[in-house]
């Protein structure tokens, strides 16, 4: 049995978890077994709908209101043992990262994080993962009877099918050692790693006062916003928008880089993007070598035109 842990934020199952469900269902098919989902906490959506992603059953442990890696890991590991799971799948999200590692120790089950493809099960269980900050891949063999995989967001497309899952809800209570004192929402509610389109800008924008056109472009595309490191360091933009080797690593379908030179450390965090568009006034900017499409031109002229052209073509 393949057990997929599905993260939820405020009761809503995350997109990266839907990808994990489809991935887990595909692994189950490969192994000739069934896939089930595990949800911890209270949810607002109809969990039987998760059947569309290929799981036959959803086990919900209701009650816990805030995430605690230590307490949750115990719940997931116990559930995996109880239902004889041979593979446990997480999404490589903020919560998934903290959980998968703990569950791996509890079950003494080998873990591959940041998986980008289905396992090769022709000879054991070998998972391809992103390494060197997206510059390469490693094929890693899991040597233990139970396998744990965390799937990179946007690496596997969630496939919608038919079907309803059986939902079994049982209440649990946890004791947590971590007290949540306060939470603070950031201005954007689009999680960068889950955005299918990301608009990113660098030092070429000259100053924070010029970000209006970047935000407008992002708005027409329903895109997440990102920036280069010097931009975040200079506090032109918040730190959580900083992408690259020492920032957030992303893999959207479309990455539009405006006024960013394309330093190797920047590329490391974005080179798994499916399509890269570069707008830069310098034809020699290294970013063009990593781009699919490019415009050599002044961002201050090109970006508003691009926004207008996108608006006009919907």
């Amino acid at each position: 049995m393949v057990l997929i842990y599905a993260d939820n934020i405020n009761g809503v199952i995350k997109k990266s978890s839907l990808e994990a469900l489809s991935y887990g269902a595909a692994v189950a098919k490969q192994l000739g077994t069934e896939a089930q989902a595990l949800v911890i906490g209270n949810t607002s959506s109809d969990l039987s709908e998760l059947g569309k992603y290929g799981v036959s059953k959803v086990q919900q442990l209701s009650g816990p209101e805030s995430f605690d890696a230590q307490a949750f890991a115990k719940l997931v590991a116990d559930k995996a043992t109880e239902c004889n799971a041979t593979v446990v799948v997480f999404s490589h999200s903020l919560m998934g990262k903290a959980l998968a590692s703990r569950v791996s120790v509890r079950l003494k089950a080998g873990l591959v994080t940041g998986a980008v493809a289905l396992p090769d099960t022709s000879n054991g269980f070998v998972v391809k993962k992103s390494v060197f900050s997206g510059k390469a891949f490693a094929n890693v063999r899991i040597n233990t009877p139970v396998k744990i995989v965390s799937l990179n967001p946007n690496a596997f497309t969630a496939v919608l099918g038919e079907g309803k899952a059986e939902v079994m809800t049982s209440p649990v209570s946890i004791t947590t050692n971590v007290k949540v004192v306060s939470t603070e929402k950031s201005s954007s509610d689009r999680t960068l790693t889950e955005s299918e389109v990301v608009v990113s800008a660098g030092r070429g924008m000259k100053g924070p006062e010029n970000w209006g056109m970047i935000e407008e472009l992002a708005d027409v595309l329903n895109a997440g916003l990102a920036c280069s490191r010097p931009v975040a360091d200079a506090h032109w933009r918040p730190h959580h928008e900083h992408v690259g080797q020492t920032g957030v690593a992303i893999a959207p379908n479309l990455y539009i880089a405006v006024g960013i030179s394309g330093a190797i450390q920047h590329l490391a965090g974005v080179n798994r993007s499916k399509v890269i568009v570069v707008i830069n006034k310098d034809p020699e900017a290294p970013f063009f070598k990593a781009a699919d499409y490019g415009i050599v031109g002044d961002a201050f002229e090109v970006v508003p035109k691009l926004t207008a052209a996108l608006k006009a073509s919907v």
Binding site: L111, V131, K135, F137, T183, E184, T191, V277, V302
Partner: protein, 247 residues
């Protein structure tokens, strides 16, 4: 209070990525090694700041690796810290590394164990959680701010779409990322002092790896950029819609 910072050695961020032995080994030829940026800039510097604020803290650094991890530990000691420990085993399996760190931590009685958010070569993001589980301690991951208040750690961590302030009783394991501190450059005095600080080598305990790396591969090369004139942005929109199908 005793603080332990986990230090990993990684190739410099501009290092060439290539593989040898039929794509089974990372080609270390000509590679410059650095302290993993998250470990250095955030975990270590924050630990040093805590010690500067209260000199009674003792600060230990640990790295699991062969003798070639020692220059990295000396570099870290040049920034600060009282002593370093190297566990003498080279492994690419997080569980093996975590087991060694947990073993040292058990006998060391640490109140605070800090790791980086992830290594920039292995990209595991898994070591901190594993150490915490092995020691049955709470784990606060992806922290952007850390303060100590007696036996309580006040930690701000990244959550989806925002931040959360946590309070947790020590001992605890915390993984650090951007925001927690500002990068420092070691000074001459630090570099001199580091030469004589203790660097203990301990032998690993037996532990079977749970995973093994079979091979590496490079991403497929890009076909090359298609340039569109700045006068024809509509053409770019058309290409994105019809050719790339991404908008």
């Amino acid at each position: 209070m005793k603080i332990l910072v986990c230090i990993s050695k990684t190739p410099d961020t501009t290092a060439k990525i290539a593989f040898t032995d039929n794509n089974t080994k990372y080609d270390t030829n000509g590679v410059q090694w650095i302290i993993n940026p998250y470990d250095e800039w955030y975990a270590l510097v924050r630990a040093i700041e805590l010690k500067e604020a209260d000199a009674s803290h003792s600060l230990h650094l640990i790295s699991v690796g062969g003798a070639d991890a020692e220059p990295i530990l000396r570099k870290a000691l040049a920034l600060g810290g009282d002593e370093a420990i190297r566990v003498n085993i080279d492994s690419d399996d997080s569980y093996v590394i975590a087991t060694q760190i947990a073993e040292v931590a058990k006998s060391g009685g640490y109140d605070l164990i800090l790791t980086g958010k992830e290594t920039i070569d292995h990209n595991g993001s898994s070591l901190g959680g594993m150490v915490a589980e092995l020691l049955d301690l709470p784990y606060v991951s992806l922290a952007t701010k850390l303060d100590l208040n007696g036996s309580v750690a006040q930690v701000t961590r990244e959550i989806d779409g925002g931040q959360e302030l946590n309070e947790v009783n020590l001992p605890v394991v915390i993984s650090a990322q951007k925001g927690m501190a500002e990068a420092r450059i070691p000074n001459m005095r630090g570099i001199m002092a580091a030469r004589t600080k203790p660097l203990k080598v301990v032998e690993p305990i037996a532990c079977d790896p749970l995973t093994s790396t079979v091979s590496f591969e490079m991403p497929p090369a890009k076909a090359g950029v298609k340039l569109v004139s700045p006068e024809q942005v509509e053409e770019l929109v058309r290409l994105l819609r019809e050719e790339a199908k991404v908008v």
